[in-house]
Subunit: 148 residues, 2 copies
């Protein structure tokens, strides 16, 4: 099994705002993809994220406000299905620290390398959303390679 | 063991330029850290990368122009020592694809999460250097959290 791991620090004392950006349709659409359907504020809910090339359906598997959000990927690219996405939040001085984990990839395929870089880009978009009021979600996200 | 993996695509037909940015002092200083000492163009050479908080010494362990560069970390933070950093390059259409691997972390510690996000930022700096002539190396790099 292989994991994608990231850490960003968001300069804010409002950890609830960060949690909200991970659990509401409007929040998620403002940093990951504008084409988001569903609310992430109840365990068992399904959230659908769409991009030009396809997308992902996530089932909310764990919530503990304001410090934990976990999803299981239930539809999307074969490599993603069954993987787990987790956001762990905590206040540390002037920052809300986000520990991000996309766990349980079966193989470290080339697509995983791409997704790792893209997750960094999108987490920086989340940081920007909270710090400045403006994220950079798909389709206006920063492109990293020929797979976008 | 845990690995950091990334993939960027650099819009260029000049794979030699990308290889040069990974194997010369001036190239490395233009996207990773301006405080770089040593040339990376010979197996066995030592390259020293410095940042405000410390730095890393790398021994060049493999070179195959223009498609492979590999270093072993021989000094720096305890978690980095003995890890392997590898850049695999190939031309794919209009892009030079860079597969990046920072291999063999003993544990997926929080510092590894931070380094994963920072590597994405620095690889985007490498992409910018080749595509626009200007990278964003330390100390003017994009900050991702309270560890910078």
């Amino acid at each position: 099994m292989s994991d994608i791991l990231h850490r960003v620090g968001i300069k804010t004392s409002a950890i609830d705002e960060v949690y909200s950006a991970l659990t509401t349709r409007n929040g998620l659409a403002a940093w990951w993809t504008t084409d988001t359907t569903g609310e992430g504020d109840q365990v068992g809910n399904i959230i659908q994220f769409r991009f030009a090339a396809g997308g992902f359906d996530m089932k909310v598997t764990k919530l503990h406000a304001p410090d934990l959000v976990e999803w299981e990927v239930i539809d999307g690219p074969a490599e993603w299905i069954g993987t787990i996405i987790r956001f762990e939040l905590r206040q540390e001085g002037d920052y809300v620290i986000v520990l991000f984990k996309h766990l349980n990839w079966k193989e470290p395929v080339e697509f995983m390398h791409h997704c790792s870089t893209k997750w960094a880009i999108f987490l920086m978009s989340l940081k920007s959303l909270i710090e400045t009021g403006k994220g950079q979600p798909n389709p206006d996200d920063v492109k990293v390679d020929n797979w976008n």
